[in-house]
Symmetry: C2
Subunit: 711 residues, 2 copies
Amino acid sequence: MQKEKIKTFNEINDIFYPKSIAVVGTNNVTGSVPYDIFENILHDRFQGILYPVSPSEKNVTSVKSYKYVLDIEDDVDMAILVFPSSVAHLAMEQIGQKGIKSMIVISAGFKEVGGKGIEREKKIKEIADKYGISFIGPNCLGVINTDSKCHMNASFARAMPEEGNIAFISQSGALCTAVLDYANAKHIGFSKFVSFGNKADIDEIDLLNYLKDDPKTKVILMYLEEVTNGKALMEAAKKVTAETGKPILAIKSGRTAEGASAAASHTGSLAGSDEITNAAFEQAGIIRCENLEEMFDYAKAFAYQPLPKSKNMAIITNAGGPGVLATDKAINSGLSLGKFEEATTRILKKSLPAAANIKNPVDVIGDARADRYNVAISATIKDKNIDGVNVILTPQSMTEIEAIAEDIVKVVNRSDKPVYTSFMGETDVAKGIDILQRNNIPHYILPEDMVKAMSATTKFNERLKERSESKIKQFSDVNKEKATKILDKAIAENKTYLPEEEAVKVLKAYNFPVLPNGLANSKDEAGKIADEIKYPVVMKIISSDIVHKFDIGGVILNIQNREEAEKAYKQILKNVKKAMPKADIKGVFVQKMVEEGQEVILGLKKDNSFGSVIMFGLGGIFVEIFKDVNFKVAPISEDEVDNMIQSIRSYPILTGTRGSIKRDIKSLKETIQRLSQLAIDCPQINELDINPLIVRNEGNGCFVADTKIML
Amino acid sequence: MQKEKIKTFNEINDIFYPKSIAVVGTNNVTGSVPYDIFENILHDRFQGILYPVSPSEKNVTSVKSYKYVLDIEDDVDMAILVFPSSVAHLAMEQIGQKGIKSMIVISAGFKEVGGKGIEREKKIKEIADKYGISFIGPNCLGVINTDSKCHMNASFARAMPEEGNIAFISQSGALCTAVLDYANAKHIGFSKFVSFGNKADIDEIDLLNYLKDDPKTKVILMYLEEVTNGKALMEAAKKVTAETGKPILAIKSGRTAEGASAAASHTGSLAGSDEITNAAFEQAGIIRCENLEEMFDYAKAFAYQPLPKSKNMAIITNAGGPGVLATDKAINSGLSLGKFEEATTRILKKSLPAAANIKNPVDVIGDARADRYNVAISATIKDKNIDGVNVILTPQSMTEIEAIAEDIVKVVNRSDKPVYTSFMGETDVAKGIDILQRNNIPHYILPEDMVKAMSATTKFNERLKERSESKIKQFSDVNKEKATKILDKAIAENKTYLPEEEAVKVLKAYNFPVLPNGLANSKDEAGKIADEIKYPVVMKIISSDIVHKFDIGGVILNIQNREEAEKAYKQILKNVKKAMPKADIKGVFVQKMVEEGQEVILGLKKDNSFGSVIMFGLGGIFVEIFKDVNFKVAPISEDEVDNMIQSIRSYPILTGTRGSIKRDIKSLKETIQRLSQLAIDCPQINELDINPLIVRNEGNGCFVADTKIML
């Protein structure tokens, strides 16, 4: 599904900043959604005017109510619809007539219930389009804007969150309530908070595009259940990071989807929806989080503190054990413990007791009071070799928990380097944690989580710095027309896959390194073709009825001379006749055989959401057992193709290290780039395997030995 | 280091259950360790008599004090030593004279500070041994026993934990304070809580052995920084699980130790201390946890609820999103969502609204009140196809959080199946969570953590059921004397490794499938040997000065006849002379060459703590890039050797699936078992590589093609 048009900044902004709101369908039943929403907007101090619209009530709470939205004498900026879905379209008509252009549809009973609900959703969308209305929902919890200029809690959440610079947008409304409760207890504030439900009009792409330009938002969090338009999502996300450097953290559920279970091609069976999501998010710079805790662990770090300028960090602790655990995690997640400058070491030596460890990780020892922590943090944060400080505290009987927290706040306010904290425990450390959280110092119960968050911010910053405009190579020596014609013809003939001979023609049109070949219809012809292309050759049956040629004796390898060639032709026909007497045979394909080289597999799979995805890996055991393959969404840029090749684990086999032979990686790269171009030019291709592609010694190119194209 | 003698139950029990305690070295300085300990014992209602001993005070708090422990007129069961380390030995002498046999040494300043501290620790241990004293510490937080019969808080922790059936023993005192704080807030109770510090006398092995028989303990948690005696730890842990089925959960820090960085053998470089710890814990049935949170997540499940009888579980949720996340995690961690019986489906269909999902995972929908939850939980827990129920709740405005929690408690009390819960959020759900926690229902903020815990308890139960007495094979056709003689001679000659010819003799003494071979000292001799053992052969230089024979042309492969053999002999000597003119040459080793077969690698490495560790993996790329190897601590039982072979990822290459050839796994297994026996019989071997061992087709055995032994 293609996204027709992204909403403008103002279309979305009008929903977040209305000057007047009509709650259409509200009532006086406390505890019901129609009442709770009205009550929330009213009592959470909305800065504009609020109109209740109710067919039966004279007033809602003590506010004068209107029977119809058309009865309101003033202009209204936004409507919130809470009528049952069965009558929603009637109210929507009137909202349109009233000239209201912004809406939130809270009501459920639409697409999510199937049947009539789908019809109802279509209908309200039509009415909205007719009147030029932009709306969020239906089937959502609502929208919250903490900005004091507006201060709108247009949701039925239990409590309004604090103001902050984190935006949260979610496809699940139920999850929103849990998130708000969790965040409020930890003083995590939000700029905008959106439950977008069935996204019949405004979706996550519109919202990303808006939040990019929202000055109140520094970090964007997303919870997605299905990505309807992956391509557009990737584009929007890339723009956010490229133009503003705002990080996007996302949870996408459905990691064990069965999509990948049964597929005709290797690529198809390996490219599960989860692998594709991982690849796409990575390419788009979206940080995929495992769960809500990880998401907020990272969000706090991104939102509250500057990004670490390098991976060199310090750990300060009053307990050896947790210090070791944090160090382990730091090393394992790609950080390193910086070596202190002499000046730092001098200060630590002078101010800490002899039993303290003055090297990184610094151990101020269990009986440390606030002074030792203060010295250690102040000294290390000034150190040129340190770009981030992680403070661990365990509550000993003499530990001055609150004083230490206050000292940390002061140090952080004077520095442009990030400080994260882990006060371990719960009740005893609660007051200290509260001081940290209220002053925007990221806090984590576990030291390992603290360090993991610093790894995430460090990596994001490294990638921001590296990100340059990597070009997508366009080959001009390709014949799109020819390839399209072959594919379209097969589709017109209701074929679900191309016979190898045709598939090879498609590849040839895109100048893939296809081996010399020909189609034979007699043993003489087979012999002649083989003589021409020179021995050894391989022969394969060509028939639209036969997919697994190998299994029925339809392939003979390593044919060395004319005599063997003619014999092989006859043998293949005999084998096929025996196994599949009714198969429609087009001939026998004769192809040059390459023996020497490393077998790799290239593939293509069309994903409904993200479009064509390219796969690369080493062949045989590496793909079958170790699943050592990489995916990228096409088109693939120069940098991405390099990364794709270099980041499989078995890459050293291609580079000639450890006794293996150096292979022609340059030609491999070009072949992947051609596949990327083919994927974009010919979306008719549903799945494609090149298995194997034989990559020869450096300078000697690579060759397509076998290919399969599914339509 | 060998553990001489494990403490008896009573020796440890006397420390946990004294009838009278002397706190030796206490004072009236509030906030100091010597005072805090006394104060804690007194005010946490110790059930026996407490004597302060202080050289300077007449009374501590309002309790009459004694100048020396010898001054106390009554018998004293236990002493707690809090004097500075410099005078600890003097006090200890008196404690010994007083006839006290149980002690806790809280004082720091011993082994952990090095230098004089080491001497001091030795000294107090000597005094203890002289008087037959058993003691915990030094350098520890103390010991807590929540049993109401004793109720002893002999620690300087801020608060005493609740009574419970979880025991916690820790090498880090500082971590203990964090753990207590964390656990108290979550109403996690403990049976025994021990900070054992430097473990100069009583160590984790003694404590495991005690806790095995402690009727108050159901689950054992351990935090270790170094394992001094791994063998004994494994034995003790195996006994705990075998005799009582009590699970042991452990955190072992130091996962990124550098131990594995530089080693002479392949095995040496792959067997880092962390891999060895993993293997040893796994063999001993110890569940290794990543961090404290995971440890307590699992501990709650083990301590509070029956073990799940199968992996078939149900999920009940009022929010789709978290339901999907939990389902994903369940599948990924080896659980499965059971299919409901018809009766269950009927009840759910009747009682839940039409929009609800009545299949597993059950979605009772966002507006569910207590009744729907109650129906769903009661019905699914009775279902024969379900052995565990996971309940997810998100706080919607109408959710009856406390009522649902109370209903869960009731259902659990009537059932013998486990129920775990995840009430998502924090403040809104706090009262509900409190009800669950006070009633021993495991609760997790994240549904994923809930499901992960159920996976852990399920796997533990499966293993308990499987665990049978698996025998260790003992070969009688081995010549230990001969192997020992060769090794001892080399050690006497200060050699650090055995020349291949000698190494092969050691393997031959243990009846490894060594290829026919001989040592030649002239080209004629080489030719004769080759003729005898039949071609093709391989020749290799033998010299104690040359470790990397290949690199200097000291090996020639694939010698096909007499002429080539004589030529190869000369060539090897020429190559070696050129590269290492001063090398002391013992001759040229002629060995039968096996071409066909799968190359695997076997190895052995001696670990200071766990003893000899055996390694197995496929050779070449699989070990070098994918590190696809398994480790087991020797001796290896029948079951363990099977598991070792079958659980490498590349195992299918050996079984003949996916087009590969079926190899002689039986002979491979026997060879590993022989290596295990050699490792136990000859601890002189420091590292050993058999690389490659060539495993031929089924029925055709395997052969040692190259070996290296380090002393």
